[in-house]
């Protein structure tokens, strides 16, 4: 006998669908804020900047209700802001989300006001400061979720802690670019950025496929593996190929955008679900090692 009646040592995550949905929305919104700032500073088109700001603001408005809905005691969500703990990735994330949501809402609101006031200078300055704050907190918002699940006792997550923030950041960039493209924006920079994100996703996917480890089993086998792998293909090699073809084949860009969006969502769903399966898988490894 090598373990206790085959019972799992660890407890599975209690999180439900709201958490992967939040990862998706927060990742895309954070990256959209960065795009808004880069587009404006590089003298990009006003309507692209505006739409990117609004994607960030809408995402920043949807994300908190998703997280609150997942709490066991939603009415106590403000307790998240009782303390700030650097050693808790969730505490850092909660504060980042508050900063991001407010900054993104302010930058989008300033955009509305600016048009209503025919380009009032103070409004524009406030809007640009808010945009910078949204971009800075957006960088954290898009990537911290990898630290959040990586710094846990769940083997499928903790063993990949070095990859997850880059993986989730690239996924967020891909999703933000795709939303802008589906809104009708055809800037070449978006295609270049989307191709870059897809290239990073392709490399990360390849590294998972080439590595063999007990902790990776839930990311490759069963339905959780199927979702994670499908998410990887839809956000990595497939959109990468489509974006390289986009010069000759305009419809390829739209296909790449749809594929990336689905891939980003599936990636989040797959990783969260793999965490639950990881409990059972790690028990087998625990038995083998003992």
């Amino acid at each position: 006998m090598s373990d206790y009646y085959g019972l799992p040592l660890l407890k599975p995550p209690v999180w439900t669908w709201e958490v992967p949905a939040y990862f998706f929305v927060g990742g895309a919104a954070g990256a959209a804020a960065v795009i808004a700032a880069a587009a404006r500073l590089s003298g990009g088109r006003d309507d692209l900047v505006r739409d990117a700001r609004w994607i960030a603001a809408v995402g920043g408005a949807i994300a908190p209700p998703l997280l609150i809905a997942d709490l066991g005691r939603p009415e106590r969500f403000l307790n998240m802001l009782r303390v700030f703990k650097l050693q808790s990735a969730m505490s850092v994330g909660a504060w980042t989300l508050v900063a991001f949501s407010n900054a993104a809402a302010a930058s989008a609101g300033a955009d509305l006001l600016e048009r209503a006031t025919n380009g009032s200078v103070p409004v524009r300055v406030i809007g640009n400061i808010a945009e910078a704050l949204a971009a800075a907190s957006g960088l954290v918002l898009s990537t911290y979720t990898g630290v959040l699940i990586g710094a846990t006792a769940i083997p499928a997550w903790s063993e990949n802690v070095k990859v997850l923030p880059v993986h989730f950041g690239a996924s967020g960039v891909g999703a933000a670019v795709s939303i802008l493209e589906l809104l009708g924006h055809r800037d070449r920079a978006l295609n270049v950025l989307g191709a870059g994100a897809a290239a990073v996703e392709t490399l990360i996917g390849a590294s998972f496929e080439l590595r063999q480890s007990d902790a990776l089993v839930p990311l490759k086998d069963d339905w959780t593996g199927a979702v994670t792998r499908m998410g990887g293909v839809l956000s990595g090699p497939l959109p990468l190929a489509l974006r390289l073809l986009a010069g000759r084949l305009p419809s390829a860009r739209k296909a790449a955008a749809v594929s990336t969006m689905m891939g980003s969502l599936m990636t989040r769903v797959g990783w969260l679900a793999a965490g639950k399966c990881s409990i059972e898988e790690s028990q087998k490894a625990f038995v083998r090692s003992s």
Partner: protein, 263 residues
Amino acid sequence: MITAFLTDSTLCIGCKACEVACKEWNQVPSDGYHFTGFSYDNTVALGHSTWRHVKFVERTAGVAAPIDGTAGYRSNTFRWDFSSDVCKHCSNAGCLEACPTGSIVRTEFGGVYVQPDICNGCGYCVVSCPFGVIDRRPEDGRAFKCTFCYDRQKAGLAPACAAACPTQSIQFGEIGELRAKAAARIAQLRERGIDDASIYDPQHTSVGGTHAIFVLRGRPEDYNLPSNPEVPTVHLRDGWSSAAVAAGLMLLGTAAAFFMQRE
């Protein structure tokens, strides 16, 4: 005073008085009547509504032969190892570090305590416990685990489980004294020919030792205890370094894409 449990599995008779005393004192809800077939263990595991759990480890093959008359059973036959499991109250507690509300605190007795009036049920402690102890109670929404009978300790009493234990398998006291007691007990058991007994108190890992020390026979894995538990905060350096790289890539990549377009 920093206090601890010393749970000596060689003295446990599997009566489950600790489980009952804990449930009664702390008014922990029932966890149902399930028949598992796992020896006499129908409690299964520690959880949101089980804060003491007696494990029934059955030994048939390779049972070490003790000196007759010293351990209450004959050699080379069936043997039970009972062990009453409990929250380890880690020196570096994963749940406490992870808690974003500050609900989980270290008490003046060194225990790890969840303040039920603060917890908002985020569930991050559940995935941060390397021992699979704390869990969210679905019908309540908050996370629960052993309180180390914080209320009783405040009043100068021993925790309910230790007070109820009829064989002193669960001892309670100052942590240094109990560590010395555990070492003395191992020496005593060795002297009696029980050479597979050892102390479980993972001081060599990032958990940094526990405030619930165990005397066990056989490997910790037999009792579903990890030999090398790690507090998840050890992954933070790698995680935030990667996040910094990711944020840098995002920023540079986005800026490059847009500034290149301008030229």
